[in-house]
């Protein structure tokens, strides 16, 4: 999948190309987009990702954004392992947003999945060049040399020379041809598949990591923006006099909405911006604005009415989705028992601890920004488009992200900052308040699903009808997209882990009146909730153990090949379920008022099974234990994977217990953490994580797959505890928190 081109040295410039899955890492000689790797005196830079100094220090470049998923450590460890670099000399530097690093879009749990192999090759190529350099120096054959822990060793004499002492010689060596690069065998891994602590621990525990909101540059102004409470509403009139009188406020500026072209980019909502000499004055000035709004066509949007409408629509036939099979009507006729249920998930918002923010400096013919961005290249392209500045004159510095969860994939806050910097001719930092974040996001859509299932006498599921309606993410890029897209339905609906001979999926119309976006696990939150809740209902109807029914439904061992290089393997799905059942002592008797529930899900090409134990006292739920098994193929950094799954359990709990965004007259009703609540440490259960040993399989997703199972497992556990079936989230609305 990857190609490294051989390139000869030319003067002080070395070119290096590695194309991977259609993306370009480094430079391709045949392309006219040549990127040069600056050659620094005394530093060996075999490619864009590695800098080796004479003192032995190695700087590795992280091309993906760090938002808590540990990617800086994980990617660097893969390069270092193949390079045979000693971890104690390694430091990590964040790449700017630039196409020369290949695709940098950090979402979809895809970083390790897509660039582990290219990163390993970067390290392996460097190691080969260092070995070649040492062989030359010793005047021996390369085969008589090996690299080990920052040294090249002469295997004939046991002489060794440190990597740092090979810098000058290695700089003269040509980049090896890709087909000559050999990657390590699993048994030889030193860092891959082991546990490495975050390279950023020291900064995280001393308050010295620079997040977007911590960026400080000379003469920086701070801005807060008042946006219309109703999506896409505009300013009718504004009285700025009180705001202007606020201490610290320097200027008040109207900002028009920046409308994205159909099909791409995010634009900006517009509103009234208050520029001040500190963040708080900007916030205060914003509160002192008197604005009259034109609410526009979304004013009538009431989320509860909308959900009622969806609940009606799912009772009617929808658009038949490709991938349906068999004949459900015949199946239902043949069935001994037929049950139906309707499930609902509300709108949700990401609420990362660091609010959206961006620092921008627009100067005559160039733009520089500093921001917590999941997708810095799209931000760069978006800025080039809206501000008509050549892309090469736009520098996108990626800071640490204080959480992302999909919110920071959308660069609207960067567009705002650049627009303001251009207007005031000074560097400016736009900071959203928490209320702004809750009220003006790109929301995870609400969904309503109707399920109907038929069982025979033996508890065999004969037919499965599923109607699903939720506003599509596509609507944020293409107005009037009133049905979920195929890409969205392919997140757990068309590709559920089961083998059901009579299966029908129908797409229900759902229009959008909010900006719809993606949130950690995306549509899998809906499919995971609907599928697992319904299997549990079928199991209780058929009086079959839910784990057994899941196993029956997964069926015989089979491999389903899709478009990707990761086929679905039903055997692996069953393995994780059996692991979780064993770990949780599934089937054992529980204390009074305790219950256990199970859920499985296949997402981002990973297999997850989770069991949750709850206790219910006086109608209030406490989550006691969570047991999760993941099969994510090659496990790059084990403790980091455990941390991700522990976090996913807490994130999933917040969805199950508290998460709900609602609107009245088009405006979001929630404000801050007091009415958009989060799981806190007092509610945190014991979390037990198992990782399947699949080091010979390609790596698959980790950041998201642990989330979709949590809410259904909790609700199934509640049913097991007290016989109450929760079909609509969150539990706080059921009075259960």
């Amino acid at each position: 999948m990857s190609k490294i081109q051989q390139i000869n040295r030319r003067d002080f410039v070395k070119l290096f190309g590695l194309a991977s899955g259609g993306i370009l890492l480094g430079c391709n000689l045949s392309s006219d987009k040549k990127e040069f790797i600056p050659q620094i005196e005394g530093v060996f830079t075999p490619n864009l990702f590695i800098h080796l100094e004479k003192n032995g220090n190695v700087t590795l470049i992280a091309s993906r954004s760090e938002m808590g998923q540990g990617i800086r450590t994980s990617l660097a460890s893969a390069i270092a392992d193949e390079m045979e670099a000693d971890w104690k000399y390694v430091s990590v530097k964040q790449a700017t947003g630039n196409a020369k690093y290949g695709n940098q879009n950090t979402d979809g749990s895809r970083s390790v999945r897509t660039i582990l192999e290219p990163m390993r090759k970067m390290g392996a190529a460097a190691k080969m060049m260092l070995i070649t350099a040492a062989a030359k120096k010793w005047n021996i054959q390369k085969v008589d040399c090996k690299a080990e822990n920052h040294f090249v060793i002469n295997t004939l004499t046991n002489d060794k020379i440190s990597f740092g002492n090979l810098v000058d010689e290695a700089k003269k060596i040509d980049v090896p041809l890709e087909e000559t690069i050999q990657l390590k065998k699993v048994k030889d891994f030193k860092y891959i598949g082991k546990t490495l602590k975050s390279v950023d621990l020291k900064d995280f525990t001393h308050g010295t990591a620079t997040y977007g909101i911590d960026v400080r540059i000379p003469n920086l102004k701070f801005a807060a923006i008042a946006r219309c409470p109703v999506t896409f509403g505009t300013v009718k009139a504004v009285d700025t006099s009180d705001a202007e009188k606020t201490a610290g406020v320097e200027k008040v500026i109207e900002l028009d909405r920046i409308v994205p072209p159909v099909g791409k980019f995010f634009g900006a909502l517009g509103g009234v911006a208050v520029i001040a000499n500190n963040t708080w004055s900007a916030f205060q000035g914003k509160l002192n604005l008197n604005i009259e709004w034109n609410y526009g066509e979304n004013h009538a949007f009431n989320s509860e009415d909308f959900q009622k409408k969806l609940r009606k629509r799912v009772r009617q036939k929808g658009k038949l989705v490709i991938g349906s099979s068999g004949n459900i009507n015949t199946a239902f006729t043949k069935s001994e028992k037929v049950i139906e249920a309707t499930y609902q998930v509300p709108f949700l918002v990401h609420a990362p601890m660091e609010v959206p923010n961006a620092t921008a400096w627009f100067q005559e013919n160039k733009i520089e920004i500093w921001a917590p961005l999941q997708d810095p290249q799209t931000a760069r392209a978006e800025l080039a488009h809206f501000f008509e500045i050549p892309i090469k004159s736009i520098t996108v510095n990626v800071t640490f992200l204080g959480g992302g969860f999909g919110r920071k994939s959308k660069s609207d806050f960067v567009v705002e900052a650049v627009a303001l910097s251009k207007k005031i001719n000074a560097p400016v930092q736009v900071v959203w308040t928490r209320e702004d974040d809750i009220k003006h996001s790109f929301y995870h859509a609400t969904s309503v699903q109707y399920l109907k299932g038929g069982l025979d006498n033996n508890g065999q599921v004969l037919g499965w009808l599923q109607r699903v309606g939720f506003p599509s993410i596509i609507s944020s890029f293409k107005p009037m997209s009133d049905y979920a897209s195929g890409l969205e339905l392919n997140q757990g609906f068309t590709n559920n882990p089961y083998k059901i001979s009579n299966f029908q999926l129908e797409n229900i119309r759902a229009e959008s009146n909010l900006r719809i976006g993606w949130l950690r696990s995306v549509v899998h939150i809906h499919s995971g909730f609907g599928n697992n809740s319904f299997v549990d209902e079928l199991a209780s109807t058929a009086k079959i153990d839910p784990v057994q029914l899941h196993l029956n439904l997964i069926g015989k061992d089979r491999v389903v090949k899709g478009k990707s290089k990761f086929p679905y393997d039903s055997k692996r799905m069953k393995e994780v379920l059996k692991s979780t059942a064993k770990m949780s002592n599934w089937g054992q008797s529980l204390p009074e008022n305790h219950g256990i529930g199970v859920a499985i899900h296949y997402s981002f090409y990973s297999y997850v099974a989770t069991a949750v134990e709850v206790s219910v006292n006086n109608g209030k739920v406490k989550v006691e234990n969570v047991w999760t098994t993941i099969d994510c193929g090659l496990a790059l950094n084990k403790d980091n994977i455990r941390n991700q799954l522990e976090g996913a359990a807490i994130f999933g709990m917040s969805i199950a217990l508290y998460g709900k965004i609602s609107t009245k007259e088009g405006a979001v009703e929630q404000n801050n953490f007091f009415d958009y609540q989060m799981t806190r440490i007092k509610d945190a259960p014991k979390i037990h994580v198992a990782i399947m040993d699949k080091m010979h399989e390609p790596p698959t997703g980790v950041g998201e797959p642990g989330v979709p199972v949590i809410a259904p497992a909790i609700c199934n556990a509640i049913f097991n505890a007290i016989g109450k079936r929760v079909r609509s989230l969150p539990l706080i609305d059921e009075g259960m928190v």
Binding site: T279, M353, F400, A684
Partner: protein
């Protein structure tokens, strides 16, 4: 109006309105950005600091309150904070890291007041701090670890 604030043993003169929250004086005026903004309404604890040893949410406490008092932030150092840092490192607690300044300050306050905290002590002391990444299991483990490290050292 000019005021003197003492932070981590160092004096800073700031010229701000009396009602500016400490958080913003510390971050924007003095330039110590380790203390974080999370909610602005004392709900998330990202902005936690100690004032004369007492745990305070700096987003909701005016500058005037701290004049003449000693402010302690994540940029500072104390015996308990250092044990906690070591434990945070040993347990590999953080994910995105953003809330961890506040978590560490709240945990410092806990260890400053309770020598051998129980689960309930931890819940009571740490439930004002939100971690959206969900590192609570590790935070709890690391607090116990810090106590262990401290007991070993003395």
């Amino acid at each position: 109006m000019s005021k003197i604030l003492s932070i981590n043993g160092k004096s800073y003169t700031v010229d701000v309105q009396d009602d500016m929250p400490l958080l913003w004086a510390i971050r924007d005026i003095i330039g110590l950005t380790g203390t974080k903004f999370g909610c602005g309404v004392a709900q998330c604890g990202a902005c936690s600091i100690l004032i004369d040893g007492k745990l305070i949410k700096s987003c909701s406490m005016p500058v005037s309150y701290a004049v003449g008092k000693e402010i302690f932030t994540i940029e500072g150092s104390s015996e308990n904070l250092e044990f906690l840092r070591q434990a945070w490192n040993d347990v590999n607690v953080p994910q995105c890291g953003y809330c961890q300044s506040g978590q560490l300050i709240a945990a410092t306050s806990l260890l400053d007041t309770v020598q051998n905290p129980t689960d309930k002590d931890i819940n009571d002391a740490m439930s004002g701090n939100i971690c959206r990444c969900g590192t609570y299991t590790r935070i709890r483990k690391a607090i116990y670890k810090a106590v262990e490290l401290k007991n070993q050292a003395t």
